[in-house]
Structure formats: structure tokens, C-alpha cells
Symmetry: C2
Subunit: 342 residues, 2 copies
């Protein structure tokens, strides 16, 4: 009987992830060396950016090459340790192979604080990636301020659901764009958005013009393509456009020429600042962000809607969900049981 | 005999300016009312943005509509005045009809200071528009600092020729992109650029990679299209991209869909800030910029290469030159003689 299983990156996909892109294989249980620890994976975050790591694009980090295990942002339990900063029993979060067990030296990992009152999946789902991404993007990159009108695409997604709530906490008007009536209902009923636009059914530009007749101050982009063009069409002079993600373009091959926004000239006409960011650059300030976010969660002002797929076997199918919009909340895969008592 | 002539905007062009787009017509000499003055046009600046005013795009200002006179940034002499701020004999600069004579109330106009040692055409050509545009774009929008590598497109153009010199004044490395061997020679021999790239003959991305192996800090864009894509390909992480002009897209009809940069995803991958600006927004700080620029000119550290076309009849043909690159310096049309003694 195998002691460990992992997803191997087998072959680059042309566009969408294919049957032979990633393969689940049996492997040995690794042994931590000096300064290392053995992590038992519990939750693995599924993020749109994961797909990018499988391409041969010029990326914000080293891509994964075929023959290496697939990776993801992971919460696990330390089960063996030769690193005093990560003692046995600690919950640690960081970038790890898509495996039941993996060995780490601790670089890029942090011990996840125990926050009484928060479920583990919710704490990980909000605090690890999506929450800091929403907060940094809206407040530091977007510089949203009280009274601003904020537009968010993929507003029912892991990051978008939080951006709307954080915008409301700061006194902004929040307009969310999502696909389908159900997701739009979550926006206004669960995530505090003032207005929801269903891009599958409505004329987005026309709705935005009606909801924000004086224009939009901050546009938070997770999708790209037509929704970004709609956003650029209704910006106020001197507005900010935050480029957090461009998921509509991630399922493409390295040679594909993907046009940028057709409304690009509005950068001049409306004197816009368009700025991209990567949350990994802000890792030093994570404790401060997480404290802020956890505080709002405990006060009931910020909530995450989670979507947990069970079992390491589900990882590839789960990742694909992000590209069809089939997930119904912040998506993660449970690779192993939660520790007893948590 | 007519007392005045002006260019009337007759009919919107489909793409390039056509024979019936603008027509030169005889008209009466206007009479200044209370608070107004009569301006005799001397130099009219030809700027790429003028073409935009003839479209029905959503603009940074009110477009001109057919039936109105064409407009341009103009230096003239006050020849009659009922406005004490603009006495007879003063040189005044502002947006005026393409006419030999026009009446103004002074709003948006400033008296041009007499700067001993500077020729009138050069003072107007550098200080009125191009100089403040170069300075604001590079230093305030682009936030260039000592040691930065700066790339400029249309580097032999009215603005580009100044950006390189201002970059050198601030201790940057300046790389200019222009079309043709002669313009490239100006870049390094007249405008102080460290390196020139001839986009008509060279592989721009490859040259940029060779000249800036560690990447580019500030990209100053005047053109758009392929040159902007080349620039986005070689940016350093956290670099700034200044969108001053997109002249490659201005000769297009309102319905045309013009793709934005194909390397748009590099906003995320390289964490770029891309920001557009319009120099009219900075008009309050003009005196300060002009003093700075004039100082550098008098010290011999900043020079403009001028291209003056003679006579109001030449205005339309002159404007078209900007779109073929036929002009050989900052382009203006001389509508009337310089005042005696200037």
C-alpha cells in the first residue's frame, strides 16, 4: 500500500486542462532532514492563477515544468519536525505540492494562528490568500475611499465576494458583476453588494451607466476581456483600475495573441491609473492584514462562502470548475481530515 | 478683400483627414467686446491630439463639431484689447481657432513671458505644450529617478525629443525609439539619448533586451500598438508605463475596435502601473514648469528642434505630417509674422 499520493504535472495543456495534463501517482512518504518538517495536507486552495503555472508564459514566478508535482497554496498539519519554528501539531500554510504529505524547510510557510470562533476551512479560505488579495487590491492598489463607487468583476468568486464586503466596511458603494441569477442573489443578500449585474443576461455597460451615472472610482478586475472593457467605459476621470486577475485569458497557449482592452485609449481620455499586483509581494504584511480580516469576521462583518471538494482525487476537476464558474464559493479541496479538536 | 481667414471643420473624416474635412474660408475681422481682446495668430502648434478633436469619440474635452472653426494651441499678439490682463502688444498663448484673427475673453489664455535669449518659435514650441508634457509625464506620472532606464517612443517627436533630455538631466539612461536612420541620429547626437532604436529596421524587443538587460523602469508611450507591446515585454517588475499619446490609433473611426496591448497581462506578471494623463490638467503648475524648462534651455541643457511650416494655407498638410512622420521637429504653422523687435 502506498504511503503517499501526489498529482504530477505530466504534460502542458494546449488550452483547457486535458486528461493527461496532471496524473495522480503513488509515491513514498518523504522524510524531513535537518531543519525540515513533514506536512500532512488538509486543505488545498484552488486559485485561477494555478492554471498559469502550467503554461510556458513569462510569469510572476517560476512556472512548474512537466515532471514536477503540481503545487497549490496549502494548509496542513506538521506531523514530524526537525524545525523548531514548525513543531509537531502546528498548522502551517504555504505553497506545497498537491500531495498528501510533503517536506518543507519552512521558507514561505507560516504557522496559522488558532482563531477561536472561526472554522478552519473558513479561516484558511479567507485569511490565507483571498482576504489579503481583496484588501490589498481594493485599499492599497485601488486606494478606495469613503463615498467611492467600486465595481468588481467575478464578484461571487473567492476574492470578489470579499472585495464587496470590504468596500462596504469602508463606506463605498459596491456594484458586483457575476454570471447567473443565483450568484447575483448572493452578491446582494450575502456579500453586502448594493447592486448586482448578471453579465450573462444584462447589458453590463448600460447597467453600469444607470447605477453609477457619475462614473466609477475604482474598478477591481478579476476576469479581463469584455468585462474589463465595460469597466473602462464607465470610469470617472482619474479613476483607478486594479488588475488582480485576468482569468478569461488564462486558458490559452503561449503563442496566442490575446488583445488587451479595446477601451485602452480611455487611459488617456479619463486619465486612468491601471495597476496590476501579485499578493505574494505583500507577504511581509500578512499578519497585519490577517488580524484586520479576522477581526471583521469575528464581528460578523465579513463572511466567506466556502466550497470544499472532498479528496485529493477531486483536485483537477475542482480546478477546472474555476474556469466554468461551477464553484459556489471559495474553492478548496480537502486532501486530509482536520486535526482532532480543531 | 477679406479681413480674416479661418479653417472651418466641414465634415468628419472616416480615417485619415480628407480633402473636404477642413476648408479655408474668408471671414470677417471680429470685434472684441467688453472684457475681450483680439488676437493676431503668429504660431499654431500642430499636435497629434488635434486629429482626435475631429472624431466623435468620447474625449478628454468637448470635441469640435462640423460647422465650427478648427482649433489649435496658438501663440499670438494682442492687437486690440478691452481686457486689462491682455494689453495691446502682449504675446498670449491658448486654444484658438485656426484663424488669422480671433476674439477671446482670456479664459484658458496666458501671457507669454518674454525670455531674453530664446527665439519666439522655440520658446513657444518647447514651453507651451511639449515641454510641460514631457516633464509631467516623465517625472510626475512616470516618477523617474536617478539611475532608471527610460524608454521613449516617437522619441524624435515634439515631446519625445524633450523626454530624453529631461531623463538625462535627472541621471537616467535614455533609450529612444524612432523611425528611420536620420531621426535616430538626432536622438543620440542632438537630444542626448544614450541609444536609439529604428523601429522600421530593427527588432525592437531584441534591441531593448540587449540595451536594458535588467529591464526598463519607465516606459514613456506616445504611439501605442506594436511599440507599446515591445515596451511592455521588457519592463522591470514594478515599473511605470506613462501613456501620453496613442497616435497609431488616432486615425480611426468611432466604431473601430482597436485592440489594446497584447502584452496586457504583463500588468500582473510584472506588477506594472500604467497611467494616462492629459497636460491640460496641469495648467495651474505651468509657470513653475516653464521656469524650470526655460532655465534648462538657457543653460544649453535642453533644446528643441523646430519645424515651422509657413502660412495658414499649410495647416492641414502640416497636421497630416504628424501621421506620416514627415515633420522634422516640433511642428507648428506660422499664421502671421513675429512682432517687430521680438
Amino acid at each position: 500500500m502506498a504511503q503517499n499520493r501526489q498529482w504530477l504535472f505530466n504534460k502542458r495543456p494546449k488550452k483547457d486542462i486535458e486528461a493527461d495534463t496532471l496524473i495522480l501517482q503513488d509515491t513514498n512518504l518523504p522524510e524531513p532532514g535537518d531543519g525540515e518538517f513533514l506536512l500532512r495536507s488538509i486543505y488545498v486552495s484552488m486559485d485561477a492563477t494555478n492554471r498559469l503555472w502550467l503554461g510556458d508564459w513569462d510569469l510572476y514566478m517560476e512556472p512548474i515544468t512537466p515532471g514536477q508535482p503540481m503545487k497549490g497554496f496549502t494548509l496542513g498539519e506538521v506531523v514530524k519536525s526537525r524545525n523548531p519554528a514548525f513543531p509537531v501539531g502546528a498548522l502551517a500554510a504555504g505553497l506545497a505540492p498537491w500531495a498528501e504529505y510533503s517536506v518543507h524547510d519552512g521558507i514561505g510557510f507560516s504557522v496559522m494562528p488558532n482563531i477561536p470562533g472561526l472554522k478552519l476551512a473558513e479561516a484558511f479560505g479567507v485569511l490565507a490568500i483571498a482576504g489579503p488579495t481583496a484588501l490589498v487590491g481594493l485599499m492599497e492598489v485601488g486606494r478606495a475611499k469613503k463615498g467611492d463607487t467600486v465595481v468588481v468583476t467575478a464578484a461571487a468568486g473567492a476574492v470578489g465576494m470579499l472585495v464587496g464586503q470590504i468596500a462596504k466596511i469602508h463606506g463605498c458603494k459596491a456594484i458586483g458583476i457575476a454570471g447567473g441569477a443565483e450568484k447575483c442573489r448572493w452578491l446582494t443578500e450575502e456579500f453586502g453588494y448594493d447592486h448586482a449585474i448578471d453579465y450573462k443576461r444584462e447589458d453590463v455597460v448600460q447597467r453600469l451607466r444607470g447605477l453609477a451615472p457619475e462614473g466609477v472610482d475604482v474598478h477591481y478586475e478579476n476576469v479581463g476581456g469584455e468585462l474589463l472593457d465595460a469597466g473602462l467605459s464607465v470610469m470617472k476621470n482619474f479613476g483607478s483600475v486594479v488588475i488582480c486577475g485576468l482569468i478569461s485569458t488564462y486558458n490559452s497557449a503561449a503563442g496566442d495573441r490575446i488583445p488587451g482592452p479595446y477601451m485602452f485609449r480611455n487611459l488617456i481620455m479619463r486619465r486612468l491609473r491601471v495597476e496590476g499586483f501579485v499578493i505574494l509581494d505583500y507577504v511581509d504584511k500578512y499578519p497585519q492584514y490577517q488580524q484586520q480580516l479576522a477581526g471583521w469576521m469575528l464581528e460578523g462583518r465579513l463572511k466567506g462562502r466556502m466550497h470544499v471538494e472532498p479528496g485529493i482525487e477531486r483536485a483537477v476537476d475542482a480546478l477546472k470548475m474555476l474556469y466554468t464558474g461551477a464553484n459556489t464559493g471559495k474553492l478548496m479541496v480537502q486532501f486530509g481530515r482536520e486535526p482532532q479538536g480543531s
